[in-house]
Symmetry: C2
Amino acid sequence: MTEHLPGSVTALAPDEPLRFDIVARAAGSAARAGVLQTPHGALQTPVFMPVGTHATVKAVAPDDLEALGASIVLANTYHLLLRPGPELVAHFGGLHGFMRWPRPILTDSGGFQVFSLGRLREVSDDGVRFRSHLDGSEVHLTPERVMEVEALLGADIILPLDECPPYPCSPEEAAQATARTHRWAERALAARVRRDQALFGIPQGGMDAALRAESARTIGGMPFDGFSIGGLSVGEPKPLMWSMLEAAVPELPEGKPRHLLGVGSPDDLLEGIARGVDMFDCVLPTRTARTGGLYTPSGRVNIRGARFRAERGPVDATCDCYTCRTFSAGYLHHLIRAEEDDTRGELLYYRLASIHNLRFLVRLMEGAHAAILEGTFDAYRERFLAGFTPPDQAVAAEQRKRRPAGG
Amino acid sequence: MTEHLPGSVTALAPDEPLRFDIVARAAGSAARAGVLQTPHGALQTPVFMPVGTHATVKAVAPDDLEALGASIVLANTYHLLLRPGPELVAHFGGLHGFMRWPRPILTDSGGFQVFSLGRLREVSDDGVRFRSHLDGSEVHLTPERVMEVEALLGADIILPLDECPPYPCSPEEAAQATARTHRWAERALAARVRRDQALFGIPQGGMDAALRAESARTIGGMPFDGFSIGGLSVGEPKPLMWSMLEAAVPELPEGKPRHLLGVGSPDDLLEGIARGVDMFDCVLPTRTARTGGLYTPSGRVNIRGARFRAERGPVDATCDCYTCRTFSAGYLHHLIRAEEDDTRGELLYYRLASIHNLRFLVRLMEGAHAAILEGTFDAYRERFLAGFTPPDQAVAAEQRKRRPAGG
């Protein structure tokens, strides 16, 4: 795949799994704009990575992703390990061949899902034993086995097994999980299978700033190609998440890419960029779309609402996605409400809604990259946040309005 | 919309709602190849019309339909009357504007659904009173109201209210429903609202050959633009359906298009063409696709079957659809089985499967049109039927194989 690279950026060498070049830095924040090169092509950062849990970004096809400007997708090692199995994916030429997505792919390590979905977990320094949430069969994962599995899946960027402590948890639990994650990181580095895959380290640290910093320093000191910050966006309050991120980022090597796992919403992406994050992934935009929540510059709207019934214009007049260019908001409203069963709309709805929300985030990231280059990122972020009311605040405002005076 | 018309065909005049030219006839059967012109463009017959019940062909977008070669779609008046309502559809510029499908559309009359879905029906010569299957609200339909509703929906071809007798039913019931359908047909003709919509008559006749012939003669004698044969494919055995069709077709005017409502499967389309039918519609290809049944030249296969698990090739190596050109059968197998809930696969599956089955029928019809032009339709039909095992026969053969010897 050939791309136009900025003049300052050298193309990836044949034996290099990854190259990351920072092409501009923001003045008033830690934001940076970069170019990330992988064996399946280059992409601009900051970047949002749509999540394709089962080797498919729900409801959208690879050519939809291409058309909406997605440049990299994430797939879940835990789910693909259980079904259809990494050997089968390898038989189809790895994830790129299986899902027919020719551009970069990142696989997570499965650690987060083992700790949130797997049953009867038995964690030891050796690894983790759990029962599949699908059929109850026992699975044993070690840092070495995860490297083998991800080599078979064949993503461009892979992550090592980590232990993600729950929120809340005791300081002892957080310390123990973080220390074990460090030991597993060393073993993952030693067990790398393929030279054409980049390996990102996962700093943990619970909700303790000192432990966060220590973990980022420890993992950051290991020869990883980049870093995927784990254990955040797990239910903690937003200010706590940002302070944990602020504790970790300065301890990571400046020149390597930083990925914040499991974040998220449009406003959170800009907050993360301002704190030095380059890459994001989350199921939120596609999951939200499927329940009727569509992004607009003024906030998330619920397309089921009566005000869209006769709306001839698109959901978002500023949007250039296939959905907004082609269909009225009224038609989307009809589609999600058209089925007999209220839990499910017409199938076309899911694709159109997912395309819109993904395109919204891709455009937001494209705008952020351009603004960092132009030295206007702070204004870009402030302008967006001033217009965009996050769902929590919108609900709160609505509730205040409905409360009877004096009540 | 401009099309290349055969030399023998004159373009539609500005005030003409429909023009049908038969461009070739088969030698050994009643099959004919035609060109049907409407205000939204021309199409070749024989033609299969995908069904878009709620103003959407389930899981596929208008540009998917365009890409797979669909030239006309059907929408259901009954469903659109109840939700979102014909006035709202008209507000969006009619069905063409609402669903963003620029080519021809046919709306049925709602009669079939009133008699199969509506509750507490009260039929009189005036019309039919029923309760919505959605919210129980009372709806009153008359032949005149159906003309108004379909004028608002704005399809190119519309159908009058008919009474579709159930199968089985008494000779008296069939005779009464058929006679009432004739009276309603006269009223529909008198109540036409728009000159740019073609109106097709619906002959009924139950399962009585003489009544079928009489109804075809009666409706065929009225100034309709074409005919949609109703009351077949309602549960009767196939040989009975074909004998009823054979009783009706010769009584219809030779030069006008003939549509067989609610048929169906690939083999039935060819059998219908051989008996002089030009147009078909059915939910079968898309509904079958959603449950895992995909058409191939040798019959319908169940993509859930273990034999597809590691299949790198497409579902149908002879198919040129987007799905078969892009994805392996193994990937489709994975998608339909990938969700936790066995009643539902990954959303992408539904689109890919529906595209394939629709393209299969479109190609079959394109081949039939070409074969009639070349004078080889009989051989075309025999070759297809010799290779294609209908599901019923495939199941029977499988059961015979499994029966222990001597058992």
